[in-house]
Assembly symmetry: C2
Homo-oligomer: 372 residues x 2
Amino acid sequence: MYFKVSKKEFYNALSVAARAISTFSPLPAFSGVKIEATMDCLILTGSDSDISIQTKLKKSEHCVLEIHDMGSIVIEAKYILEIVRKIDADEIEFEMLDGSLTKISGNTAEFRINGMRASEYPAIDFSKPNECFNVSEDILKKIILQTSFATSDKETRPVLTGVNFQCKEHQLHCVATDSYRLAKKTVEIEESLNFNITIPAKSLQEVVKTLEGEGDVEIAVNDKKAQFIIHDTIVQTRLIDGVYPETSRLIPLQFDYELTIDAHDLLNAIDRASFIKNDGVSVIKFNLSEQECVLSSKSVEVGSSTEVLSSASFSGNALEISCNGRYVFDAIKALSGSLVKFSLCGEMKPFIIQSVDDDSVLQLVLPVRTYA
Amino acid sequence: MYFKVSKKEFYNALSVAARAISTFSPLPAFSGVKIEATMDCLILTGSDSDISIQTKLKKSEHCVLEIHDMGSIVIEAKYILEIVRKIDADEIEFEMLDGSLTKISGNTAEFRINGMRASEYPAIDFSKPNECFNVSEDILKKIILQTSFATSDKETRPVLTGVNFQCKEHQLHCVATDSYRLAKKTVEIEESLNFNITIPAKSLQEVVKTLEGEGDVEIAVNDKKAQFIIHDTIVQTRLIDGVYPETSRLIPLQFDYELTIDAHDLLNAIDRASFIKNDGVSVIKFNLSEQECVLSSKSVEVGSSTEVLSSASFSGNALEISCNGRYVFDAIKALSGSLVKFSLCGEMKPFIIQSVDDDSVLQLVLPVRTYA
């Protein structure tokens, strides 16, 4: 195995594959990047068994790639990234010396690193599942960022640590909930498909990092795995087993109150009060009337805050409603647009937050009871 | 107590005082900033008993300050910083309501925070010690940054966790060592003084952060404490007890070998090899001759690196010397100037690193034995 490659492009491709590698991998081989030199490209693979990333590096006008000898080797990810990042040369030479000792050199620096034989690396099946559809990078990014924050970080109900993707004909519904709040994004797709899968939020966060900023992503799923094909990279993730709860009946359809407010103003007001906590939770209270909207919070230990929300407009009878400030903050952050609308049914009923300009995404928050 | 003050200046002054506050303070009162409104200024004090910072905020053309009622209060540092930073107003009103409940308001937001009575805050003696001298901010910054990194981070010999300041007549010698390396900076001062004190490295790091970028600092010391008077701020620190070791006889005066090299090139070469570690230490080996200078490192587990130092020039017989790469890296980083000079006496003798342009500072490193 012997090749010469542009440093910058090699480093970028290694970083993509290494993203799947976790520091606490059960299998020693999984702490390495598998590097394969084929006839016309390098194939780099990283995995932690839950998520696997494979990327191809080809010769191009920006990227020198001369493969003199084909072959494959596994090199500890942290070493190869460190070497390639710090080498002071435009091109890097990579040569397997004997067995698994690998020479990596550029300019005046030369490293001889103990690798692992590629035969010790677990076989990963990158075959493409049957149910395929395309979405633009931009839409996929929104799906993930507008929902995944609402997943649960507790392992008590594993299925809630993922985002549920349910496709019926041409509609894809993406839902995340930790049972105190819920985020739902709906997009139209061209293909007519029927599936219901739950993808770990952690894997989706790696997908977002792998997006290149433009073009389409091909998504292929079956009941075992999901694949995101982003240009020359495949991000493949296992699914979460278990039936995802039926959430559509939780979302109210009729409302008695409506609050419209500047998103930026409300975010700042919640943020200002966020240090006032009870048992680690910052509870905020809205006192809403058509005359005045006031946000307040209180803690016996710390003190209290009150703020008039001057950009708010409210319709309905006077209403007092309390909730976790963090949930409202996250929900508004995930919406696009400068104006947000709260649709409410009552003091102890879940309420909905949406952007005034975009009804493809819906955030639902459960209120809390306060005794003050 | 009731005053009105510019948000930005108040926040900056609070940040300075809060720098002395440690998260794990033994005394609850020390988690707060003491705020005193006097006739013509605010006095803000923070302390963790080892280090205390007092700063004065006066009315100026940049800073509104209207003191309507004098008084004093202690407010939890993290709350007051959070409130003042996030309040969306140019001016902040600060009013003690009753006992220790304090109203802080700006624009539409109002906070009522439970403070502590100033009488519960320990009395801190900020009287000025007798031995005083002046240095420019620039020189003080160099003294600290060029020495303090070489202090020990282990509490086994407490005196080594500080920088020793020894003044004989008009010369101030500042020395730090962890017994494997040593840094020494010498500066001339106008005053004729005689003292020998050791200041905790941690306190000196807070002094550096408090420097404002220009002007002089007045330093006042006795055998109990040191004060750094930086414009309207006093940083006061306890000293470390115990006799500082006599280090001058450790520094060799005659040399048989000399290596001159571009600082930037050598830093990069050491950095590239830094991941090759044995028991967590990156040992580097110099193979020096008048024909060629080579840097190498080796670990049975990881592999090896070799690099020709093309910008090096060496005089003397051929020499092979090994040392902790981190120590050489830190030493060169602390020197100014682009060209550094190594003065050596032999394979197992301490060697000196200095900038070619500046002999006020000297870095000494002990070599290590390698068996390879």
